[in-house]
Assembly symmetry: C2
Homo-oligomer: 125 residues x 2
Amino acid sequence: MAEMAWDAAADPEQACPIAPVVDIVFSRWTTPILWTLHQDGRQRFVELQRRIATITPKVLTQRLRQLERDGLVVRTYHPEVPPRVEYEISDLGRSLAPLFAHLAEWASENLGKVDQARDAYDGAR
Amino acid sequence: MAEMAWDAAADPEQACPIAPVVDIVFSRWTTPILWTLHQDGRQRFVELQRRIATITPKVLTQRLRQLERDGLVVRTYHPEVPPRVEYEISDLGRSLAPLFAHLAEWASENLGKVDQARDAYDGAR
DNA sequence: CAGTATCCCAGATGATACTG
DNA sequence: CAGTATCATCTGGGATACTG
């Protein structure tokens, strides 16, 4: 057998099989973008910018490119004057919906407990 | 009615109800820690450090404190010589297990598609 | 053992201004 | 409109060394 090269980037995953997904789905700004796209449908760049409000165009572009590359979002360019670009969630992106719902459910049931834990922790010192 | 102060931190959530959970559960290093604690049970500081391997003691401490504060992990200090500290997942932390399983399932079904999408995207230019 | 204390740096983020 | 370019900032994270 040949020597196996050891993938350094894979190390955190060694202790956690879900680490790769987390990077793809839960890196900063991705959930607001995916959520909005899923909720409000196909949108233009400025609409996304307005809905997310605190994101800058630069960062929005970066995140959208990443999501497009990962196949979670579809970008459509209409060569008009002025140019029109539309973003929509892909089937792959849509397949995250149950997961997000699950997450929302956990949140509604347990976010209060987290707050309590924080108060207890902060109060105890 | 009194003026409502506007919580700036809440803005990204405006477009995304799950943003707060993501911060708590999916910030860096938290999934490997929670996963290990869930998988291998109560552990001492060094054991965690060994299992996660690339994490430095400083960062491990930071993350563990955060998880403890959020009520996802329980820290037990045994005043002995040498000191012994044990970490275990809390009930609240354990309640994330189905969610993590869901995530792992999505990963096994769709991570390949993400890779394909990346290849297609990178190849197309 | 279980951390703390420092120093340091890269990469991510934000603010602002400009272009096809 | 849909970005890009540039610059300033800043926090997280890593390396290393030290302590009760």
